[in-house]
């Protein structure tokens, strides 16, 4: 059914369709509406789940860790500082191969304190071993949460999945979302969770043992392999979803007007909508330009990126994060992917925009397209700074 929903409501409803058994959360802007909606669903009896409102994000993640280890479906959500406080536990969840699903309402990091959107929080946890998907709009956010459980719980993956949704820009925006009417259809897509190893008094395994030097690397290697393998599962989950529900947003990446593009804009998340509109305008004026959307940031879609960019001249990476002491993050990874495939005909220009909720406008996109034609391998340059504050 098509209806107008606030992003947070859409996400909560997507989570409800997956019927998690245990939800735990601690409030942080802009994640709050999601968990408020979920706790209301539990209070109203629309979702049968144990909802544990904890005393910190560290415990929110720890509660779902403990519950997940018992073999039930679990969910949590956070943002920004909350995520950083959770980070230790996220490593642990991934290390113990527990299929927790989590929403990250992307938000800037202190200091200065800032509640608005960017993706610096996500970038801070990119090596935790969690799969990181990024939603472009609230429809995709809704659908992606259902897919996330399927990916996480795949027997050969067994990793946490973090669904990134831009804070406020998606979580607090009302727009049309088509929800799924039949929970049975979702069940058909997403079968009940079935973990081979769990905390069970009949089969009493020990979880989270001491991994001495003789075994630690092997355990990390297995995780690393599972993450690599998850590429297939993410793509499969998207395709199966399309077959069943008719909606598709790409596998690890998606392309928009790429075929003959000399200039390609690469981005992830909600800014893609604004970029696509700007690209339509540029196309009308005769520019050969297209868009590559990163849908899965971890695992990183190296092959897809190389295939999409190898014939381009200019690549513009629009990134809402910065690595002090280096530059861009996504742009560096893209450049590395091309380098590894010995493609040196492409100039990859990384630009930093939209930090701490700074609006990214169509004019920004037009300006960058003009700039990128003259620049070469820009490394995370800040765009749109106010000279008066420097």
């Amino acid at each position: 059914m098509k209806q107008v929903l606030e992003g947070s409501m859409a996400i909560a409803d997507g989570v409800r369709m997956a019927e998690p058994h245990v939800i735990s959360a601690y409030p942080i802007t802009p994640q709050t509406h999601i968990v408020e909606h979920l706790s209301q669903m539990v209070a109203d009896g629309d979702l049968k789940a144990e909802f544990i409102m904890v005393e910190s994000e560290h415990s929110a993640a720890s509660v779902v860790l403990g519950a997940s280890a018992c073999g039930v479906r679990t969910y949590t959500a956070t943002a920004s500082q909350g995520l950083l406080y959770m980070e230790e536990v996220i490593y642990n969840i991934a290390g113990m191969r527990l299929p927790v699903v989590m929403t990250l309402a992307n938000r800037a990091i202190s200091a200065p304190i800032n509640i608005w959107n960017d993706m610096q929080d996500a970038m801070a946890i990119r090596d935790t071993g969690a799969i990181m998907l990024v939603a472009e709009n609230n429809q995709e956010a809704y659908d992606m949460h259902i897919q996330a459980f399927k990916i996480a719980e795949n027997q050969d993956v067994m990793l946490p999945v973090i669904v990134n949704v831009d804070g406020f820009v998606l979580t607090h925006t009302f727009e049309v979302v088509e929800t799924i009417d039949s929970i049975d259809k979702v069940k058909e897509y997403l079968p009940p969770i079935n973990m081979e190893y769990k905390l069970d008094v009949e089969n009493p395994y020990s979880f989270g043992t001491l991994g001495e030097p003789s075994v630690y690397m092997e355990s990390r290697y297995n995780l690393y392999n599972a993450m690599n393998f998850s590429r297939n599962i993410i793509i499969e989950a998207a395709k199966e979803f399309k077959d069943m529900f008719g909606r598709f947003y790409g596998g690890l990446t998606d392309s928009y007007k790429l075929d003959d593009s000399q200039t390609v804009i690469v981005a992830m998340g909600s800014v893609l909508g604004t970029i696509k509109d700007a690209v339509d305008e540029l196309r009308e004026s005769g520019k050969k330009i297209g868009v590559l959307k990163i849908r899965s940031f971890r695992p990183f879609p190296e092959d897809e990126i190389v295939a999409a960019l190898k014939n381009a001249k200019n690549v513009i990476v629009i990134e809402k994060a910065i690595c002090p002491g280096k530059g861009g993050i996504l742009s560096v990874e893209i450049r590395d992917s091309l380098f590894k495939h010995k493609i040196n005909s492409v100039s990859v220009n990384g630009y930093t925009l939209g930090l701490g909720g700074r609006d990214i406008t169509p004019k920004n996109i037009h300006d960058l397209v003009a700039r990128a034609e003259k620049e070469e391998n820009v490394d995370g340059e800040f765009v749109g700074l106010s000279q008066q504050y420097l």
Partner: protein
């Protein structure tokens, strides 16, 4: 499945680790004054002492005894003695 490597251990698998080799001393149950109080069983940190309250016959599992000497120290009737392990 591969992911259990380093993470998940089988129940009680520690029994394969014979900690008896830690011991420098080992108890000798003299069976002279024993009253069958069972304190040696209670107090053994490893749980290696076994025996019977009625017969007052106690022994220990040398495969795992670390030779701490608590049983001898706490025996209220001095019926346990620690002796050096010959290595």
């Amino acid at each position: 499945m591969d992911f259990k490597v380093g993470i998940i251990a089988m129940p009680g698998a520690a029994l394969s680790n014979k900690t008896g080799s830690f011991a420098n001393e080992t108890p000798v149950f003299k069976h002279k004054t024993c009253t069958g109080c069972n304190l040696c069983i209670y107090f053994c940190p490893e749980g290696v002492v076994y025996g019977d309250k009625k017969t007052k016959i106690y022994d220990f599992d040398s495969d795992y005894c670390k030779g701490c000497g608590i049983c001898a120290e706490e025996c209220p009737v001095d019926d346990i003695e620690m002796v050096l392990v010959e290595k």
